[in-house]
Symmetry: C2
Subunit: 468 residues, 2 copies
């Protein structure tokens, strides 16, 4: 990375005045380290534009001076795509205007420095629902969530972030503003350029505002944790649940016993949900447009599943507190791994029908590769998305285990590839996985992405080390 010239830095500073930038190491520090402390970067300057026009002015200067830019939202990304290594850092957090909320359009237009939680709250105050939900939602920004096409727990019914964006405004790599903030559900007038920007991890421009889809608030909601003997049974149950509710399943989260045990051991105020302590359990959430409909559907579903021997145990949450407690068991799975010495973490997806087979094959391969290793499997199996984490065996040497992480991950990912899966289902590639992804992409895919990127950012100034 070539450092920006003094002239370029002066131009950037003069563009916005003192409120628009900082070189104060203390202020910049939290922007350079991501929350798992895996990445610590460096930058000559933190740019803090407060409007789309200010972003455009900055990017124009960078384009003129061939200065590379890393855009950053809430800095909650898990693959290091938001961390600069010498590039100027452009934070979108001061882009905070709510442009409009129109309930009749089921749409709201927000600038992208607004957090995901704030976006959900803004929708709720208009008597609407914005479904995307993930652990970091209090800090993650709308812009970051769009740039990484984030997923989370509500994808099964409502889709990824890509599916929730009606329109975008962005500053393109030459500094021009793309005005695409349409509130339309249908528009077939050429290539859908916003689809390129979504999930581009900041490599094709800086997204400054977005029009998001809103949904009606459901009339009833019910949550259960059920026990099963095999992962394969959970897939049958999923198909059954979708059919019986006409698509009313909002979440379907698999948990292996090891993960549940670690949560119960390492996270305070958690309780065993099922006395039978089954090897596999699933958290199901159903929502319905009819008052009382969700509870009725869930009860009927579980009764039939019991009779047919598909499930061995079940507990339906009786109130909001119990619902929250059930969800906490699932959501604390990542945090519960830390005290065990960390692990080789994977965010993979495979076709839903092949999940059980995949788990068996990958686990056998991991055990051959590193005898004694423990496998924690959990995740959004309603979307085919597994968080497949490998932990050191009890008493094993942890640094030696961590040192085998890259090799071990290839074992896991090679099997994903054979199952026509994805090595990054919802986190993106960033700095962490770009190189590895090249192993699994065809030359045609890589060269097409490179050609498209070059067409839009011929100087490659946008997040140059990320993606292809």
């Amino acid at each position: 990375m070539i450092a920006p010239s003094p002239a370029a830095l002066d131009a950037l500073k003069n563009a916005l005045g003192p409120a628009g930038w900082t070189q104060d190491a203390f202020e910049i520090a939290p922007h350079l380290t991501e929350w798992r402390n895996r990445w610590t970067g460096e930058t000559p300057i933190l740019l803090k534009p407060a409007s789309t026009d200010e972003v455009a002015r900055l990017v124009t200067i960078c384009a003129e001076h061939q200065v590379a830019i890393v855009p950053q939202g809430g800095n909650t990304g898990l693959v290091g795509g938001q961390i600069p290594y010498g590039e100027v850092l452009l934070s979108t957090r001061r882009l905070r205007t709510v442009r409009d909320v129109t309930p009749l359009d089921d749409a709201m237009t927000l600038e992208t420095g607004i957090t995901l939680l704030e976006a959900q709250q803004r929708a709720a105050s208009a008597n609407r629902y914005f479904p995307l939900s993930l652990a970091a939602e209090g800090t993650a920004t709308v812009g970051g969530v769009i740039s990484t096409n984030a997923g989370g727990t509500q994808v099964l019914r409502y889709g990824m972030m890509r599916d929730l964006v009606l329109g975008l405004e962005a500053v393109m790599p030459n500094g021009e503003i793309f005005h695409g903030l349409k509130r339309l559900r249908k528009d077939n007038t050429g290539y859908d350029l916003k689809q390129l920007l979504i999930g581009a991890e900041g490599t094709l421009g800086v997204i400054t505002a977005a029009t998001l889809k809103l949904f009606p608030i459901m009339r009833s909601r019910a949550v259960a944790i059920v026990g099963l003997e095999t992962a394969a049974a959970s897939i049958e149950l999923l198909a059954r649940a979708k059919g019986e509710t006409g698509g009313g399943v909002e979440a379907f989260e698999l948990m292996k016993r090891l993960g549940t045990e670690l949560v119960l051991r390492n996270i305070p105020d958690t309780r065993e949900p099922l006395d039978s302590q089954p090897e596999w359990s699933v958290l199901i959430e159903i929502a319905s447009g009819s008052p009382g409909g969700a509870e009725a559907q869930l009860t009927a579903l579980l009764e039939v599943a019991f009779e047919e021997g598909l499930i061995t145990d079940a507990a339906i949450a009786q109130n909001d507190a119990q619902r929250a407690a059930f969800w906490r068991l699932r959501e604390e799975h990542s945090a519960a791994l830390k005290p065990e010495g960390g692990g080789w973490k994977h965010d993979v997806s495979v076709p839903i029908s092949r999940i059980a087979e995949y788990i068996d094959e990958a686990t056998a391969a991991v055990e051959r590769f590193h005898p004694g290793a423990r496998v924690s499997v959990f995740g959004h199996i309603g979307d085919g998305n597994l968080h497949y984490d490998v932990l050191p065996g009890v008493g094993q040497d942890i640094p030696a285990f961590i040192a085998r992480w890259k090799e071990g991950s290839q074992v896991v990912h090679d099997i994903v590839a054979r199952y026509d899966g994805s090595i990054s289902a919802e986190h993106g590639l960033g700095r962490l996985k770009t190189e590895e992804a090249k192993r699994y992409k065809t030359p045609l895919e890589v060269s097409t992405m490179q050609a498209v990127r070059k067409a839009i950012d011929p100087q490659r100034i946008m997040n140059p080390d990320v993606l292809f």
Copy 2:
């Protein structure tokens, strides 16, 4: 358009042998005229590949010889994007293999010459639902429907074709095969290249197979036609219906009295649905995951809407025959215009909240521009999509009226642009609207699309006269 050289034609003929091409004028003729007889093209040869490899061989030859190609599916497009004017014509209709149907994945992979109706039937035979539905579905192919990002009557709940595609296989303009037939719901590993091919109207490659999303079959379904005094009331009713059913509205179709009258007059075996003959009516279809749920929700909705004065009249279909009769009133709207001397047809979208205002303003402008003209408005207002058609006044000179079509359409489209709408909501641009779309796109949008196209098809051999 430069005609292909004799050497190029020979290479194409030799590539597949006699089953793979024809120059027989009688066989080619139906491929050159679209169903409204607006376009009649010409081609030196009709290519009829029966596999992806055959498509790849043909496109490779075309790339080597710089021969332009128009891909064609069922030839039901309404904007002439599938009609060659000197290009070689590549029909995808012989790509007819069902690659797989996996109900546990809610997915099926089909080659793209299969018709939309056959796709729906294939899903139904696996006890699943494929929702995209439109008048031409018996002839329109999966490939054509993807290439034009088609809409239809079920978009409100299930989305456009773009939202229903999990993966694609395509032959790129250099003849290489893009293998993207993933059955995954989540895959964040670089730019989502399939999004470029969807809706590209054949300008970026030939789509040869697709993996489509399937849905559970709903447990109950109810249809009503309701009368309203104003178009604005229908928008209030839509919001109310979505809220009361938790997103269970599958179709919400507005009809103005003039359109209903023309259907009753010009289409045999149709009956007045509401004795009150309201100025505006709406066809609502609700579906639910609970047996009996749809009827209960629809009845409750209409009772409240009545009490509040939002609707003036309503009839709920009592059986399948009545449901079909109600739908027929809506679906025959286009056909019913023909005997009136045709019209200036528009497929526009505007934000849902502004539909009523848009109709008023556009209609006043049309009446100023062509006094006496009659306006028929109908369409998928749940998606903000209006088919806004202008008919000659009774007794007016029809050829003189038709001659003003282009000018009159600009009146309609200029107002659409001021409402941040789209001049082609679901039909695409094709040969019909590409020029006009340039009036409403920004230079940045046009130049970005051109740059992306050039990156993927540097020789511009794919459908060169369509899009930018």
